[in-house]
C-alpha cells in the first residue's frame, strides 16, 4: 500500500474553470487536468517568484514533493500548448486554510456560518456547491 498523500495547502483555488485554445483546426484534442496544487505551485514559483524552498513551506510539503508537483504542472501546461488541448482546473489533493465554499453556478465564494440551515448559495440559491476546505 502506498504512503498516504499529505494534503497540500493552497491559499485560493484558481479563479478559472479552464483555458481553451482558439483558432485551431482540430476541434476536439482532449483535455488536460491541471490540479489545484499544480496551479498553486506555478503561482508561487513563477508568479510570486518564490524559491522552491519558500514555496514548499507555504504549501506544507517537502521541497522534493514541491519540485515534483511543479514539474508535473509545467509538463501538463506544455502538453496542452503543444497538443492544443483544453486545460481544466480540477480539485486535487488539497486543503484550504479557510472554510470557503465555491458556487458552481455563479462562481462566487462564501462562508456558511449555519450549515444546519441548508447549503445554498446566498446569491443564486443554487445547491451546486463545491467545498474548498478540508473538513
Amino acid at each position: 500500500m502506498p504512503r498516504r498523500r499529505r494534503p497540500r495547502k493552497i491559499v485560493e483555488p484558481p479563479k478559472f474553470k479552464g483555458y481553451a485554445p482558439y483558432g485551431c483546426q482540430d476541434k476536439d484534442a482532449g483535455t488536460v487536468d491541471l490540479l489545484y496544487e499544480e496551479y498553486e505551485a506555478i503561482k508561487l514559483a513563477d508568479y510570486d517568484g518564490l524559491s522552491h524552498h519558500q514555496a514548499c513551506v507555504l504549501m506544507g510539503i517537502s521541497r522534493p514533493t514541491f519540485a515534483r508537483i511543479y514539474e508535473s504542472a509545467r509538463q501538463k501546461i506544455a502538453l496542452a500548448l503543444v497538443e492544443v488541448k483544453t486545460i481544466k482546473s480540477v480539485y486535487g489533493n488539497v486543503s484550504m486554510d479557510e472554510n470557503w465554499f465555491h458556487c458552481q453556478v455563479c462562481f462566487n465564494h462564501f462562508t456558511l456560518p449555519f450549515p444546519e440551515k441548508g447549503r445554498l448559495c446566498p446569491l443564486c440559491r443554487s445547491e451546486k456547491l463545491e467545498t474548498i476546505h478540508s473538513k
Binding site: 462566487n108 465564494h109 462562508t111 456560518p113
Partner: protein, 104 residues
C-alpha cells in the same frame, strides 16, 4: 436579515468595492423592509488595522451577511467567530442594485 455590501459610491448604481476594510461606502440592506442606507467608511484611509476597525463597527450594527470582493485574514477570523456570512464576488463590475436583486 441585514446585509452589508461594500460600495465605491453612495448610490445603488455604484459598483461593488472589491476591498473590505478600505472600501469607500457600506451599503446596508435590510431584507425585512427592503430599505437601503449608505454609510461612509471613516477608516478608508486609516494608518493600519482598517479591517478590524470596520469589523468592530459592523458588529455593533448586528449585520448577518457581508458581501465584498475579498476579506483580510484578521477580519475573516473575527467575523467567523461571530457567525457572520461572508460572500466574495469576483466580478467587480457588478452594481449594488444588481447584487441586491440577486439576494431576493
Amino acid at each position: 436579515m441585514k446585509t452589508i455590501i461594500t460600495a465605491q459610491e453612495a448610490s445603488p448604481e455604484s459598483k461593488l468595492d472589491s476591498r473590505f476594510g478600505r472600501c469607500a461606502f457600506f451599503c446596508l440592506h435590510d431584507s425585512t423592509d427592503g430599505q437601503i442606507t449608505f454609510i461612509q467608511n471613516e477608516f478608508k484611509d486609516a494608518q493600519g488595522g482598517a479591517g478590524t476597525k470596520v469589523v468592530e463597527k459592523l458588529l455593533t450594527m448586528k449585520v448577518d451577511r457581508i458581501i465584498s470582493g475579498d476579506f483580510g485574514p484578521k477580519a475573516k477570523d473575527i467575523l467567523d467567530k461571530f457567525k457572520i456570512q461572508l460572500v466574495k464576488i469576483h466580478d467587480d463590475q457588478k452594481t449594488i442594485k444588481e447584487i441586491i436583486s440577486t439576494l431576493k
